[in-house]
Amino acid sequence: MFDFLTDPAAMGKAIVWFAALCTLGLYTILYRENVVFRFFEHIFLGLATGYAIYATWNDVLRPRWWTPMVAEGRWWWAFALSAGLLFYLIYSKRYSWMSRLIFAVFFGFAAGQAFQFFASTYFPLIRSAINNPVVGVPVPTAINNLLFIVILVSVMTYFFFSFEQRGGVARVSRMGRYLLMFAFGAIFGSTIMARMSLLIGRVFFLLDTWIRQTILGGA
């Protein structure tokens, strides 16, 4: 009965069938909320979590912690476990103060990293935002740069909340708000494209991999 477990081709087909059933089961939510959807949702979450645990053990904990500690005589790696467990003391009323020790260490790391991150990420962006010549460049580039400057100034004006915006400033600010809406529209359009792409991926799997290749035996 379980011969297919040792046959790679049969196993491949069984995996495709299982994936197709999972896909169809998950798409039953399009009709309405139901127990089939919940069942397959839990299967998916269970698989993802199980695989994450395996990968964390295989790629990180075993080669970087367990093997050095147990097989290579570096016993002091055992202290890493107690340091890690300090995080969980946040759930104890009596000892929660000890979790602050390890949190403080990591806050320190993160704060230090933030300086490097800000400089290397935002300084080039700021520099490129300032450096937009409208003279001595081809006309299309000049128009593009001018447009960029106008949009940048308008949007930044919208975010001046330190004083009441009146007259010309208010008009520029309003324009900034409309321009932001253009940007949000573009992002929303891209989001639709992304969601359609995911649907296409699944429909292609059902039509091509499952029906054409597995059921009909196409090449």
Partner: protein, 292 residues
């Protein structure tokens, strides 16, 4: 309820069915849609890889293929991985798969490499390696440590072999031995490379970005600032790359479905709005007082 009111209240299940037909039919029948136009970010992505392959010094360095995605964005991210990996293999560039967001990424990228390796004569260990997964909380310290000493920072590959014993890692020490970073992601993981790796060597490491369509608009400023040398946006970006590679595949076929799905959504938006306006004008014309 009048005709125009009914048009505004079509059952969502009918809309889903229409959408599945709009997506599925072009996949079954060859749809009359022109080949995707190649946009500048995709072109510069391709040109950057070509420039690496044509440079006698940089072509011997290692490309990091950062597979920071999961099966939930496979239609976009995995398709991008497939097309980009084909290009790397076609131009005989050495690469390392790495992942610090979701462990599924290292597995999906590995499966893609194994699928393609016979076609391009690639061998694991000799031409590419999989550094495996690191938890997202350890991403920044790991990437920072990689700047000086990659074998020490990564340790072992997914087969538990020390990196120092893997042929493809020969001569690869730190950031100056990296030809480029290709970040394939559906998450906000690109800043780790830009913030902690890109500008830490003798010269900036070319950074290429394969992003989901959701994140695409936010990344465009990074192209202008020179922090990105190229970008593939979603399934459409992968389709454009297939055009450049002259190897039409799933992305090209999916691109046609994408166009029809967008046509349908636009048609439904127009239909809904026109029927709403007509419904309102009829209500106000008959004196019953429609909502405004």
């Amino acid at each position: 309820m009048g005709f125009f009111d009914r048009l505004q209240n079509i059952d969502r299940r009918v809309l889903y069915l229409l959408l599945i037909l709009a997506v599925g039919l072009p996949l079954i029948f060859s749809a009359p849609v022109p080949a995707p136009a190649v946009l500048p970010p995709t072109r510069s992505f391709y040109d950057t890889v070509e420039a690496l392959a044509n440079d006698p010094v940089r072509r011997n360095k290692l490309v990091i293929l950062s597979a920071n995605f999961s099966s939930s964005t496979a239609a976009e991210s995995l398709t991008q991985t497939d097309t980009v990996m084909r290009h790397l293999m076609r131009r005989k560039l050495k690469f390392a798969i790495f992942d610090f967001v979701d462990p599924q990424g290292r597995e999906l990228a590995q499966q893609t490499a194994e699928k393609l390796q016979n076609q391009y004569g690639y061998v694991y260990g000799r031409d590419y390696v999989n550094w495996g997964y690191r938890p997202v909380g350890a991403a920044v310290p790991t990437v920072k440590a990689m700047v000086r000493d990659i074998p020490a920072a990564i340790g072992r590959d997914i087969t538990n072999t020390p990196l120092t014993e893997i042929p493809v890692m020969e001569g690869v020490k730190g950031v100056n031995d990296i030809a480029a970073v290709i970040e394939v992601t559906g998450s906000a993981s690109l800043p780790v490379w830009i913030g902690y790796f890109q500008r830490t060597g003798r010269e900036p490491v070319p950074t290429l970005f394969c992003t989901t369509a959701v994140q695409g608009p936010e990344a465009f400023p990074l192209l202008k600032s020179g922090q990105l040398q190229g970008m593939l946006v979603g399934l459409q970006g992968a389709a454009e790359y297939e055009v450049l590679l002259k190897e039409p595949g799933f992305a090209t076929r999916g691109s046609a479905s994408l166009s029809y799905a967008h046509f349908l959504i636009l048609a439904l938006i127009i239909l809904g709005n026109v029927s709403m306006l007509l419904s309102r004008s009829r209500s106000s014309g008959s004196g019953t007082g429609g909502t405004r």
